[in-house]
Symmetry: C2
Subunit: 518 residues, 2 copies
């Protein structure tokens, strides 16, 4: 059941309950001693073999809070809003757990009925329409805000509109800058400011009144606030800024908000959802993915390092037994993910998510984990057994959590040279040193162009956070190569001035991530 | 306040209340003697001078029910869901009345926060994505289900996707077949069946296994049910099938559901919203537009004639004083609209919606109305005075309503030859006789092709209802010509097998109706 205090900030709609976290957190800030300061546990995963194959992060997250609550610990989960497009059209099914480790209302979460994805899509598409009008009005020459779609449609990767005269881009709604802004913002004022700061396009007029080719060469970036009444966008967003409240089958609290697709965007739930859970519970399990190299990296290096989100007190790194085993050339990736988190001082527990018929593999898995110097793995068929199957395996985890310092604050990289930050992420998160970071032809030009655009707007480029965009299934140009031969190629850069991040496209990334329906 | 019985079928979400009319109407059907059999009043308008210019139908509708209730009559209104794209991006503002004649929560209705438009867009776009996959899978060669957008973006009128290889269409969400299906259906089963019957595209294989040019020539239409799990679409629709409940400023009940854009689609509210209002109230004021020639015509000839909706007991035809007066060449249109409804046996009352500073025009307007043989007009500044300004003017209206036979049932045109029905609409609704109905080059070919597609699916073409698609601002090819010179040109035909209608494009219609942002 939702706490009495939180109920005052909540509205119920049939089976859907939504929370006004902005208002609740104002109240918490005014009465800090009345609230908890819960510790964050990061649930992330191995790099999946395919994007369409889930390792079981949501299932683990739900089983884990049920197990912790069976041990008398006040635990809650914070999940990301699933993508309706993937649920409805993909083979992976929903993203709300499964079997005994599932949500009270998976049908609401999975099918987009929380409503936030539609509102965010409407808001961003409305911005695109305003930009198009600005082209007609002679304000813009080029539109830089892509349209969005939640239906995965590979053909939308390349679109010409207006009878073929104008190239436009579609991105998936979860990968839009609007979604990033709602995920990262802690007040409506912050959303308003960030939407206004989005780069809408390039000016129709060049510097000093130049026209023609000169105008194109000197066209300046134009921000949304320069020609759009941002209040209209805020109105269309409506209650997309609110969190959904659900429960596990055993009644554990689960907050859901924003953020799927850690490969091409953030892959983390909304920061205010985590803030509010930390005010109400002692342990807050936060899901981030696809893997430790995607949403996991982004929780650490974007949310915690640059946006004040809590550094994890512990981590659980989920893998299917088969993911770890199926491809010998990729076996290095799971230990790499676990060790990378341990090296950051985060107590990191392997979690083997077993499928039917795999129970007898546990001794072998434990022995492999011991050889690798892992902490003792947590293992179980969570679909079949739920949290009950984990209760007795959590002594080490609970002890590590108790010892962790919840006040750890990582050093911000704000102001560090952009390429230095990029190389640092690639080395720490993917294991490739600076000398094997390559650049695609033309990369330097794109980087210079984006830097110039930021400078024209008075934005300090090196103050923006680095947001890698890559395939969910690879960390390097070819993960199957021996360690010493692995490279990462820098391909493209794109400033999201509203969200405060710079996208950097790596390896086999797609700039317009429309997955194929499978 | 909502009635106690209806409250059992309602859910409240903050300021938004939604009603499960399907469930409520099942209950009504089982207990017919416990419910009312309200009379329908049609509120429609003159043909507007421009689409972006409202005559004041919603304002009139709200003032009218407030005035009737002040006279002790249990009146309610049924409105169409406004289009967020028009509210946010247009000059016209919202579509929820104004001043003293407005809704309790215009901010919810105007900004798309009822949620149905987004859900309908997601459902139709998901269908388009499934069709695209069917092209990849070798099931379809051509996709016939357009994508939809609620943001008005003129450039989306012509789109190539997949790097220019595939032409696709975008239509406005309110003009989509999915919206038509939700508007016209009276149960979830009916929606399920209608979505399954939508024509998805043309088969990849021609008749008898032909390929290449032969395949293209003999490609058969393929329906959604042939390759899509329709349940996924139903899940995405979620509660888009439910009606929003609001109130006027004076507390009169207002039901809102579906249906804007009477020029290119239906332009009428959802039929179940009207059914439920008739079960609960004595007088149910139904808004349909833009004008009597658009949504008004569609209420009469599609909803009432073919889908069992109530024939109006009376009508109110709204015009601004200036619309009636501004363009002498178009002055014929307002009397034509009023007289057309009278000829159908519907007591039709002129309603002059006055703006600030126009009060002293009333005597002149009344005198003109008398010369034209109109019933005595209802006139007032509804924005300023609300329903209070109408109370004393409704004696004739209330008397006519009392005399009207609510059981009138118009003759169905089902089975009548398609072109005969088209000519009949053009003569009755736009005043142009059969001999001045022209056809654009190629029209016969398109008609033959659509007839063949229907035949291939076993659909009796002449059983489908005719749905004219045209500019909101014109009834004929040139309304400014003298009556004897006016023509109407038939341009295109498109079967909506799910909704059960055939679109016929007339005069200056656009097939992809993306209004320009103004």
């Amino acid at each position: 059941m939702i706490t009495e205090k939180l109920a005052q900030y909540s509205t119920q709609f049939g089976e859907l309950m939504k929370i006004d976290a902005f208002a609740f957190l104002e109240h918490v800030a005014a009465h800090p001693d009345d609230y908890k300061k819960g510790k964050v546990v990061l649930v992330t995963a191995a790099t999946p073999l395919k994007a369409s194959r889930g390792e079981g992060k949501t299932t683990t997250t739900i089983a884990l809070i049920d197990a912790l609550r069976r041990r008398g610990i006040d635990a809650a989960a914070v999940l990301r809003q699933p993508s309706m497009g993937i649920t409805a059209a993909g083979s992976k099914g929903g993203a709300s757990g499964g079997g005994k480790s599932t949500l009270s209302h998976p049908e609401i979460a999975d099918w987009g009925l929380n409503g936030e994805m539609s509102r965010i899509a409407d808001a961003q598409n409305l911005l695109a329409a305003f930009c198009e009008k600005a082209v007609d009005d002679g304000i813009l020459s080029t539109v830089l805000i892509p349209r969005v779609s939640e239906s995965p449609s590979r053909s939308l990767r390349s679109v010409q509109v207006d009878g073929g005269k104008l190239a436009e881009r579609f991105v998936l709604t979860p990968a839009s800058e609007m979604m990033q802004i709602v995920t990262l913002s802690r007040s409506l004022e912050e959303i308003r400011e960030r939407v206004g700061n989005m780069i809408a396009g390039l000016s129709a007029n060049g510097a000093n009144g130049a026209d023609g080719a000169d105008a194109a060469a000197t066209a300046k970036p134009v921000q949304v606030k320069d020609f759009v009444d941002v209040e209209r966008i805020i109105r269309v967003l409506g209650n997309a800024v609110q969190q959904a409240y659900m429960e596990s089958g055993e009644g554990a609290p689960v907050y859901i908000h924003c953020g799927p697709f850690g490969n091409v965007s953030l892959g983390i739930p909304g920061l205010t959802a985590v803030d509010l859970a930390c005010a109400l519970h002692d342990v807050v399990v936060v899901e981030a993915g696809y893997g430790a190299d995607a949403g996991g990296q982004k929780w650490l290096d974007i949310a915690s390092r640059e946006y004040g989100a809590q550094w994890p007190a512990a981590a659980v790194v989920v893998t299917r037994a088969t993911t770890w085993r199926d491809d010998p050339q990729l076996q290095w990736r799971y230990p790499f993910a676990v060790n990378r988190l341990e090296k950051l001082g985060i107590a990191s527990f392997p979690m083997i998510n077993l499928w039917e018929g795999e129970d007898d593999e546990i001794p072998q898995l434990r022995s492999t984990a011991a050889e690798l110097g892992f902490r003792d793995p947590i293992a179980g068929n969570l679909f079949r057994d739920g949290g009950a199957g984990l209760v007795d395996q959590l002594d080490g985890f609970v002890a590590a959590l108790g010892e962790a310092d919840a006040q750890t604050r990582p050093e911000s990289k704000r102001g560090v040279d952009f390429l230095e930050k990029v190389r640092w992420v690639i080395e720490k998160a993917y294991g490739v040193p600076a000398e094997r970071v390559l650049a695609k032809d033309g990369f330097e030009d794109i980087l210079a162009q984006e830097k110039a655009r930021a400078a024209a707007l008075g934005i300090a480029f090196d103050d923006l956070a680095v947001l890698p965009v890559k395939s969910p299934a690879t960390m390097t140009d070819n993960d199957a190569l021996p360690e010493q031969e692995r490279t990462v190629t820098l391909k493209k850069v794109e400033v999201h001035a509203g969200a405060g991040v710079v996208h950097i496209n790596l390896t086999t990334s797609l700039t317009t991530p429309m997955p194929k329906i499978v």
